[in-house]
């Protein structure tokens, strides 16, 4: 029986993302040409196809664009965790810059779209730190 969800396998292109998480920093590629951020590493800029970028640290603040409270476990590690909340967060840095995560320490009934959230980090059983979010007032 697996006691945790799958750990992320850092790959060529995503290693700096996961390494920064272990340093408790949320980073994303920021295009050197058009200055836009992108989530999930890509070799070229999604917006202008430029290949030059810098790993930039984000504020980790944003708002909930959508969420789901998972109540039916489809993975062995989910059995003891349901209900848990998967959230899509739109980060303050850029309109439409959205990432998937968990919303933790929350009463599912209290979740609303556009609610403010802030990143925090939680340790996966593998030792890898994962960015997750909490509701916040600011």
């Amino acid at each position: 029986m697996l006691s945790d969800f799958p750990y992320p396998i850092p790959e060529h292109g995503s290693e700096p993302y996961w390494a920064a998480c272990n340093d408790r920093r949320l980073v994303m590629q920021r295009c050197d040409a058009c200055r836009k951020f992108r989530w999930q590493p890509t070799p070229l800029c999604t917006f202008c196809a430029d290949e030059n970028f810098t790993w930039a640290t984000l504020s980790g603040r944003g708002k909930i664009s959508t969420w789901t409270v998972v109540t039916h476990p489809v993975h062995p590690a989910a059995i003891d965790r349901v209900p848990y909340v998967v959230v899509e967060v739109e980060l303050d840095e850029q309109t439409g810059l959205r990432m998937l995560s968990n919303l933790v320490d929350v009463n599912p009934a209290a979740i609303k779209a556009d609610a403010r959230v802030a990143v925090t980090f939680t340790e996966h059983q593998s030792g890898q730190m994962l960015p997750v979010f909490r509701l916040t007032d600011v």
Binding site: F5, Y7, P8, H75, V86, S126
Partner: protein, 389 residues
């Protein structure tokens, strides 16, 4: 040749029974469905010289040709993205092959033991691998695995933006179940559903309930495509492929988590050409076959393929519009993925052909045009079929 409009026809349809455990191999299911389609067309295996398949299908084209006694295979290919590219993409590929003269008669099929798990693993279950790579590495560590969970995120967003409610999603499930109860071959035949049943069904991942999700099924389904001029003297009235298309975009990268505000989606991309290519408008469609993996995605497909505006799906699906015989636009008249059987959408096309031949159980009067779409939220495919009558 600007499009393949009306140059190819579906001339044969066949399927196995739809069950929870077929008790036989996926190859056997494929051969039975294809054999039935060849028989329906009044052809013999020697007349078939092409096979198109879903990339996800475990069956091998050459295994099928050997098993069925197809002596000369001149065309074989496959289409990606499961229930998105597969259902109409394989048929479109078959049509392109016969129209260009690469083949004479091509079979498009899907066969799987998806429910029993004998050969194909159940789509609703998560992989139990210890690590996740690629796009899954950004989802699986958070317990986001199944299509249902991903679709739930989009459904919640739709509810927030447009005021859509669970009862609107229910309309789709209710229409499909209504039709399944008129179809003795349907898995859910004899099991009527009420709005209350839907609202009381188990929550899977908010706002998605069990009765918003399609069935899991063992079975096979196939169609035979040939050139329009050859179709004229075969056993069945030909059903013309008026237009067909594939669609996808860069936003499809996030699994099935949709950006529902995106002006372009896999559906809008297809719709842009599908109707002009067929020379008709939405008002000319007599019967609808929208891929029903999850009810919210059917509602979004109706909006994005242009049957109503974005955000208006909740009103469009009401008032019995989708139910035969009184509704003006009956949906998935044999019960669909939700209530007939889940052969990854192929069974919806078979029912569309029946409607255009005039042999459906829930026969819509004077059907001339059927709209058939495949699974959205992934790169997808769609087709407008035209009856000979």
């Amino acid at each position: 040749m600007d499009s393949i409009s009306d140059q190819a026809c579906i001339v044969g349809i066949g399927h196995t029974e739809y069950s929870k455990d077929s008790g036989r191999s996926e190859l056997k299911l494929a051969c039975e469905a294809i054999g039935a389609a060849i028989e329906d067309a009044g052809l013999s295996p020697a007349d078939i010289d092409g096979i198109t398949k879903y990339t996800m299908d475990n069956n091998d084209a050459v295994d099928i040709s050997r098993s069925l006694g197809i002596p000369h295979l001149r065309f074989f290919s496959e289409v990606a993205y499961g229930g998105g590219g597969g259902p109409l993409g394989t048929i479109l590929l078959a049509a392109m092959a016969v129209v260009t003269g690469q083949a004479n008669a091509v079979v498009a099929f899907r066969a799987m033991n998806e429910r029993s798990g004998r050969g194909t693993s159940r789509f609703g279950q998560a992989s139990t691998a210890a690590g996740a790579a690629g796009t899954a590495s950004y989802a699986a560590p958070y317990g986001l695995f199944s299509p249902a969970q991903m679709v739930a995120l989009a459904a919640q967003r739709h509810m927030h933006l447009y005021g859509t409610e669970s009862k609107h999603f229910a309309e789709i499930a209710l229409a499909c179940r209504h039709h399944a109860n008129l179809n003795p071959d349907a898995t859910m035949y004899g099991r009527p559903m009420t709005l209350e049943d839907h609202q009381n069904s188990r929550m899977i991942s908010t706002p998605l309930r069990l009765l918003d999700c399609c069935l899991e099924t063992d079975g096979g389904a196939a169609v035979i495509v040939t050139k329009a001029d050859r179709a004229q003297d075969l056993r069945q009235p030909p059903v013309y492929i008026a237009s067909g298309g594939l669609g996808g975009g860069p936003w499809n990268h996030r699994f099935m988590v949709r950006d529902i505000e995106s002006p372009a989606t896999e559906a809008t991309i297809i719709a842009e050409r599908l109707f002009p290519d067929a020379g008709i408008t939405h008002a000319d469609i007599d019967v609808l076959f929208i891929y029903d993996h999850f009810t919210p995605l059917v509602l979004m497909a109706l909006e994005e393929f242009g049957f109503c505006k974005r955000g208006e799906g909740k009103d469009f699906v009401g008032g019995g519009r989708l139910r035969w015989p009184d509704g003006e636009l009956p949906l998935n008249t044999s019960g669909g993925n939700l209530s007939e059987g889940y052969i990854h959408g192929m069974q919806n096309t078979i029912e569309a052909v029946r409607q255009l031949r005039g042999t459906a159980r829930c026969q819509v009067a004077d059907t001339k045009h059927a709209f058939v779409s495949a699974g959205n939220a992934v790169p997808t495919s769609a087709m407008i079929l035209r009856g000979a009558r």
